[in-house]
Subunit: 689 residues, 2 copies
């Protein structure tokens, strides 16, 4: 079947357009509109020379070939004939069957939650979405985000039926299976871990933004529950997506009316959801979530909506398809027992003998340039003069702006504090890569994660205290395993002064240290702030950088480097060691001078790398000096002092140190080394018996 294409020209600067106009005379103003063209691949090749990577366009201009919808048909298709309505319905029943079999086999999980979504998954995975079951990491395909993570079984079932995974579905939630209780990237098809509700839409928004940034028109489909729509983070994301006109997002709300422990607030009041999304600037459509045709029509409506995202409000029944539980409270998270209940469910699902092939459909894109740089790059060197006064937050902003110039993947986000955190410096230098998230920190964290899983290096900043607002999102980010995600918290501790305790970050070190696998940095001067900001971009995983409000003296030379896990020692006194970081480093150095006047000789350790901490240097100092004193502008619990105490003290701490997974409780206690076996081993090792 011959078909037409849209050629999308996205992200071109306006100055490029007059030239293109002369070449084709066919594009439509404004630039983001489509240019119909038959031989798109040729066009792409033809246009290539006009975009000079040295002019900075290579990254931002993408030639996306996208099949055009053909009026009168359920268009938007490749060459393959699409499944019939009845086939999709049968597939929905098969997905129901799988969900029930899986949860019964694992004797845990949420079958009724899956049952309400079966038609949504069936239409999305087997008709609407353009994706390739053989390419889990492709960016140029439509992507599915399961915000209601407890419906994981039906996601695994759909992936299996589509040939995207070959796991044994009945090993759901088993210790060595990628089919975890809630989705995590242990399974290659999961971009962001979900299961803490209300977070998927922010991540979807970040992904949608990254794709628009890179000129990729592939869409994001985000399935949410109605219960989770009570989370404020959903409305932060809704406002953000509308404000940024993310029309590549299609959110689906599974309104089954029941939460975990009872009915939701709006129950089946679909109008309430419609009104909310519309008032937040969305296009919203309501459908019978069990009607294949209504769903497909709604998807088409979503695709044809420009300038705003679309929410499809799906009225469903929890437990749909099994009369014993359909629409009934009290069945959340309860698998069916093999006492006749399970068998009855399968019987009611009827004939599920169907196989549907998913046509691989990539949306062609150019390869993006690599974002490689070295910390030695002269463009990154700080340029302070001796005895300059500068706040570490200023160092953060300066370095970020420089980093943006040599690393096109770097993006900056802020929560309406850019003039305080100095992320504004990045915005001024690279306005197209700055994302204003307004006063909505949860969404900012989610968007940052969404950008990160799409290959960006996001730096998200606000006052450190307000990061506590996003702690759940940050926690879940750990489980999403982004390559790079940098969080900056400024205005830490009592040293902010007059604004009072509400604005003081006093728990941020504890927060970020407690997250598994994170890196926590706390520069003591502007040079360290610049160097550590750059280092953060190359450090794998989640990096937290703590910056201070007051201007302080520049202590280090511009060429000084600050390796992660290191420290700087000032002096070699043996009376005592003072371990400090950030603002207290300056106090400690002053104290060192004062003590010297009394013939007390101390060394000061600048513990700029709080996690990992420089265990060796600290242990040596503890051996070589009589006393160790830590000083920090932070709560006494969970910060620098305890980090030091835990490495130089004699206490052996058995605790969780790696990202855990699904499994039986006993298996997990053993695996992560906190059960009787691990205790016995630790005691014997310590005692040498």
């Amino acid at each position: 079947m011959p078909h037409f294409w849209h050629l999308w020209l996205i992200g071109c600067t306006w100055t490029d357009w007059p030239f293109l106009f002369l070449q084709f005379g066919q594009f439509i103003f404004p630039p983001e509109k489509a240019l119909p063209y038959r031989e798109a691949a040729q066009v792409s090749r033809f246009l290539d020379p006009f975009f000079d990577p040295r002019r900075g366009n290579a990254k931002r201009v993408e030639f996306i070939l996208r099949p055009v919808m053909i009026p009168g048909e359920r268009g938007y298709r490749g060459d393959k004939t699409m499944p019939e309505r009845a086939e999709l319905q049968k597939m929905a029943q098969k997905l129901r069957r799988h969900s029930v079999e899986m949860t019964t086999a694992s004797a845990s999980g949420h079958p009724t939650t899956c049952l309400s979504t079966a038609e949504i998954l069936s239409t999305l995975f087997f008709q609407e979405m353009r994706w390739d079951p053989k390419a889990p990491y492709a960016r140029n395909v439509d992507t599915f985000v399961l915000s209601k993570g407890h419906a994981a079984p039906i996601l695994w079932a759909a992936l299996k039926e589509a040939g995207a995974i070959d796991d044994d579905l009945l090993r759901l939630r088993k210790f060595d299976s990628t089919l975890e209780g809630h989705p995590t990237p242990r399974n290659p098809w999961v971009r962001v871990a979900t299961g803490s509700l209300g977070q998927g839409l922010s991540c979807a928004a970040g992904m949608a933004l990254a794709r628009r940034q890179d000129g990729i028109t592939a869409r994001i489909y985000c399935l949410m529950g109605d219960g989770e729509s009570a989370e404020g983070s959903v409305w932060e994301a809704a406002q953000f997506a509308a404000h940024n006109q993310l029309d590549n997002i299609c959110a689906l709300v599974d309104v089954n009316g029941l939460g975990q422990s009872g009915a939701t607030m709006p129950m089946h009041n679909v109008e309430s959801y419609l009104a909310k999304f519309v008032s937040f600037g969305w296009h919203a459509i309501s459908v019978d979530g069990h009607d294949i045709d209504e769903l497909l029509q709604a998807f088409e409506g979503a695709r044809n909506t420009t300038d705003r995202p679309t929410a499809i409000i799906c009225k469903t029944e929890k437990g749909k398809g099994f009369s014993l539980v359909e629409g009934k409270d009290g069945w959340h998270g309860k698998p069916f027992k093999k006492d006749g209940t399970f068998e009855k469910a399968l019987e009611e699902f009827g004939d599920t003998d169907i196989t549907l092939e998913v046509e691989p459909r990539h949306i062609e894109t150019q390869t993006l340039p690599e974002s490689a740089f070295s910390l030695d790059d002269p463009a990154l060197a700080p340029t302070y003069k001796e005895e300059d006064m500068a706040a570490t937050r200023q160092g953060y902003g300066s370095a970020l702006a420089k980093l943006g110039a040599i690393c096109p993947d770097v993006m900056a986000l802020d929560g309406d504090t850019k003039n305080s955190t100095y992320s504004e410096k990045f915005k001024i230098a690279h306005p197209d890569r700055f994302v204003e998230c307004f006063i909505a920190e949860q969404n900012m964290a989610g968007v940052a994660l969404g950008l990160a899983v799409e290959g960006k290096i996001p730096f998200a900043s606000t006052f450190a205290c307000f990061l506590s607002r996003a702690y759940d999102q940050l926690r879940m980010s750990v489980y999403s395993r982004p390559h790079h995600l940098v969080i900056n918290g400024s205005h830490v501790g009592v040293s902010i002064g007059e604004d009072g305790p509400s604005q003081m970050g006093l728990e941020d070190l504890a927060m970020f240290r407690a997250l598994i696998g994170t890196t926590v940095l706390y520069p003591g001067d502007a040079v360290a702030a610049e160097r550590l900001t750059c280092a953060a971009a190359l450090t794998p995983g989640i990096v937290y950088l703590r910056s201070s409000r007051p201007k302080t003296r520049v202590l280090y030379k511009n060429e000084e480097m600050f390796p992660i896990g290191g420290s700087k020692t000032w002096g070699d006194g043996t009376d005592a060691t003072i371990v400090a970081a950030g603002i207290t480093l300056h106090e400690a150095l002053e104290a060192q001078k004062l003590l010297k006047q009394n013939d007390i000789h101390v060394r000061v350790i600048d513990a700029y790398s709080i996690k990992p901490i420089d265990e060796e240097t600290l242990k040596t100092a503890a051996r070589e000096t009589r006393e160790v004193i830590t000083v920090e502008d932070h709560s006494a619990c969970g910060g620098l002092g305890e980090a030091v105490a835990s490495v130089i003290g004699s206490v052996k701490i058995l605790a969780i140190r790696e990202i855990p997974r699904s499994g039986k409780p006993d298996e997990l206690l053993d695996k992560y080394g906190i059960n009787r076996r691990a205790i016995v081993e630790a005691v014997r090792e310590r005692l040498g018996k």
Copy 2:
């Protein structure tokens, strides 16, 4: 001026009503409607005998005398003649003048934010609100919550003008002043600390709920910013208030269109705010926020609205009244300098020579019964049998239900997990004191705080991991200094099993330990869980109780008591000490047995009180045994292990250990013991020189 009263009969059970009907024949169905009556005080005395405290009505039935609005007048008034429009306008100008003078004097603060709210404050404090400037702690008066906490100066100004405080306004933000940079209860008129945006409405909802619970009709006025309306927590609160029909709440949104670092998303699009509030189930009115008449009319509209809260959307200009800054970006948080700017502002405010007296207006209430109980009360004793298997979360639920029976102030909240946390047991026993907060943990924490500051003893529960969602609210709760506020986090650690990492509380100990002044409890068996749950209700401030999912053996006898700050030692081995808590206590006890078989004798310490921790017992154990090993189902940072390491180790930790306040950075570093002076003292003390 003679006036009429409404007699409100609130919370009567339906079975009481037929009798009342015979007595008066005048009340209006349903029970919560008003009964007009002239001699209301007499009625109250007359009705008293019909309500028998032993039938449980005494607490729930309140006789509220409330002035009736008189049609045709701006009613709702006491005897005093209300100020004229021009007087209120002049007062607004005077409040502007104060705000500018205060912020200029302190050279910090947010004058333009205050200027947009001047008419709102003037009409509220000098006409609309029924309050008594001499009674800051009264419950039976209308109460103001300043959610946009950075407008603190104009709040202090209004209080000063009303004669409620006699502080020197020009000492704003000074170290020893109660006029902090953002409102805290250091000033007696502040119920909840604000300054982290988007939190006031949840607190207002909690206060409104507590008042309805106690039959107090006094209203809550909550002033929010437009920028903070981007916070999802606002919409969690909005949904909660509408769902609970809290018509005693009037929210005001100061739509000045500007945030800290630029325009807000909807800017001056008042309709967008109206649509949002209406879609969330509110009555919403838009006004010119600088028009006294429109404001007063809107207040009346709010008062006359039943069954739903009212939002008044006030279109304003940031910096209103001073032409240099009015409606201009770039002036957030910038006091005016005395370079002509300050002087120009005062000049533009014009004649501000006015004094308005606020008539003290209490809303009469009966005294509420005292909620006193003893932990020895036999009604609280656990009733487990030896070798019973029970989860600590079950112990929490059982104790909570028992506590509810003897302590009428106890209320329980849950975030749609009541059947998992076992708070459901409380709901079954005391349905009228259970608050379902659905999947919106931020709002749950705010509502709990609101209940707490109104004298309730709230117990709020959900999965420990989801408390991370409300960490900012919990942080701010510390600064609100509630008498009692208990948070329960269940399903902690990897021991939850199959659900996977998204549902595992691995950071909660670090979170709650880092908050200043909190108590952190972690029971090892169901008996300890029951005892500690009860103890939590009597422990001042914020208490966190950590409970586990799996059933474990009952270890302690029913009569065992668990004092806060204590521990339990199992055995007296001297080879090693194993410090454990919760699920790992059971593993440690098993390890103890296994080690004994190899002639290794250890003692096990059940550190059920994680904060404060039993320092003395731990130090003794460290002295008496060769090795100390801690084991916890929690991240390695900020939990039990570091708590132990910080007390038995040799590291002296200087850090923030009490709630800080506004002041100059140097003053604060000194006050909280982290500056050069404190370091020098610590070193000299440790070295004995």
